[in-house]
Symmetry: C2
Subunit: 236 residues, 2 copies
Amino acid sequence: MASEDQGTDLLWGPRQKPARAPRLALTVDRIAGAAIEVADAEGMASVSMQQVAARLDVTKMALYRHVSSKAELVAVMIESAVGEPPNLRTVPGGWRPRLITWADLMRRTWRRHPWLPAATTGERMTGPREVGWTESAVAALGDTGLDGGERMDAVFLLSGHIRNTESAATAGTQPWTAEKQLRDILRDHRERFPALHEATMSTAGTVRDNGWEFGLNRILDGLEVLIEGRRPERTS
Amino acid sequence: MASEDQGTDLLWGPRQKPARAPRLALTVDRIAGAAIEVADAEGMASVSMQQVAARLDVTKMALYRHVSSKAELVAVMIESAVGEPPNLRTVPGGWRPRLITWADLMRRTWRRHPWLPAATTGERMTGPREVGWTESAVAALGDTGLDGGERMDAVFLLSGHIRNTESAATAGTQPWTAEKQLRDILRDHRERFPALHEATMSTAGTVRDNGWEFGLNRILDGLEVLIEGRRPERTS
DNA sequence: TACACCCAGTGTCCATCGGACACTCAAGTA
DNA sequence: TACTTGAGTGTCCGATGGACACTGGGTGTA
């Protein structure tokens, strides 16, 4: 950029500083941190090797000394962003409050890093912390009488709901979440989509959470029906 | 590519064919069809302007005469792939069988085009057929006593479940769906993830559907709890 | 019949992407 | 002092989406 100016300074000016500031050593953690900053600020689409490298004042190829590919960079970002999985054993009240706590913590994390839904779709590597979050939720269902497959399916269902509501929050994943756009469409075509038109209009002015609370309660109610039905009959 | 050979042929060989086969006129539908073929065969990542153009034996820039951007191409693909929304009014038995039918039809469509989850994430344009599918499901909840917001949230919850199970079917969206990989990890770290290890091992050899049936039944049960509780009390 | 216009399809260019590979150069060791 | 090592660099490549000027054949009008 300013190579000529620098040359002039080097020749004529007072030698004020070492030509290149003594920079911190590059580490995987620093790289992940920079990538997360880019993603938080400008979205996953802006996370490229050159963008991340630029933020560290380094060449993109330097990054490859520490991560073997972009996929690995993303994997490291995710592990760093999700944080340590929670310990739910101290939450009183059985499986339901524990799952609510888990879902709430997870949702908070995902809200802090809105690119997580986009980063965690598709084939990819999985890190220990991510698995730890799953462990945590599966363990919370330990005394419900559900079998192993059911416990895993239940956690998948719940975490999928978080993914859906959060990715819908940042981008219109589903037609009916792009509020404004959909409302305009429906105003122009109300005769074609009467039920949807009526439902949408009745929610005008309402605070929307993309169905987070609604879906959470439906899922937990559905689980409760199964768990209570499974329990050895006592009274009835 | 073979321009010199063609030149030779034109000069010396018998003039066998018009240099370029009389090709079908390019239309948006033909373009969308070709793009869907590419996506079905090689996944969404292989859908590029040049790939689609090549399949039509045409330059990529020719496509821009018919679609204004790649985003528009994708939007057209989606509209074409989802097909006409179903009419559920003939399905007997109330909202539950109707939603099951709807979910089953939608899941079938998404299975036919495994790229649909990937294509319908992120900010994008929405077409009338896609909105039609939503209309169809919202209408099925018309006589449940749910209010407009609840009906939309319910449909979002259900369609989100389809998205999750289907996108997990084609790629390991969640750690616990990449069966083989996860099982290996857990074998090596069973002391770190005991609950998950136990749950996973107990499902060995089981046919997995990514929790489709399980999640569907939980969601419907959860909806039923709400709907029945909302109904004006009769007996009890 | 002649000519001008229109427009679908072409060719070329550009910035950006992930990544391969050979390099420089300073620090540490023999 | 000479050699090795390894972090960071520079350059190249093919593929991506897209801008823009061009061409050539068909059609409507004079």
